[in-house]
Symmetry: C2
Subunit: 105 residues, 2 copies
């Protein structure tokens, strides 16, 4: 299986993070990972098609928003909160807090 | 000439703003308007093609990031800082400050 590439903390670029989070499904995924706990990818938005989710995982991983870990045939995901907080202090909290507010989209 | 549609403050959605700013040219435009002053669109990134810029103005306007005013055959642009600060307090400062830092992208 191919190695999953993750940018280093210093390689994470603001414009890529904004583009990754600038999609309703990907914003939802970030929200689902907001607690910081690692989650099995199949648990998150199970009603979306697998190919669409594969595309979104990749956009989030390559921009540096999530970390993907393979274990056997399963993929586990974590939000890279620490790295994002180092690079863009406050951005993630601001985005997740807003998204979480009742009535906010 | 068609009326330029601008979303009202309440209609501005986080995901649309993130998507609009998640592009290097559009981030650059927002930076060029950061002072808050209205600018003639031809002054901003004059080396980019007109059709590409038209696409970017539209993405920024429809998401609620900029206000476009037509005067004769010219378009003038302003950053909707007040509206964005009401909807997503701190987001614009965070994005523009980071982008402005030497070496930051």
């Amino acid at each position: 299986m191919p190695v999953l590439h993750h940018p280093s903390t210093e390689e994470i670029e603001l414009v890529d993070v904004l583009a990754a989070l600038g999609h309703p499904v990907r914003l939802e995924i970030a929200q689902a990972l907001a607690s910081g706990e690692e989650r099995f990818c199949g648990e998150i938005l199970p009603d979306e098609s697998r190919s669409s989710m594969t595309h979104h995982w990749r956009a989030l991983r390559e921009s540096g928003v999530i970390y993907q870990r393979r274990s056997g045939r399963k993929l586990y995901l974590t939000l890279r909160r620490g790295d994002l907080d180092v690079r863009f202090p406050g951005l993630l909290d601001l985005v997740l807090d807003h998204h979480h507010r009742p009535g906010a989209k």
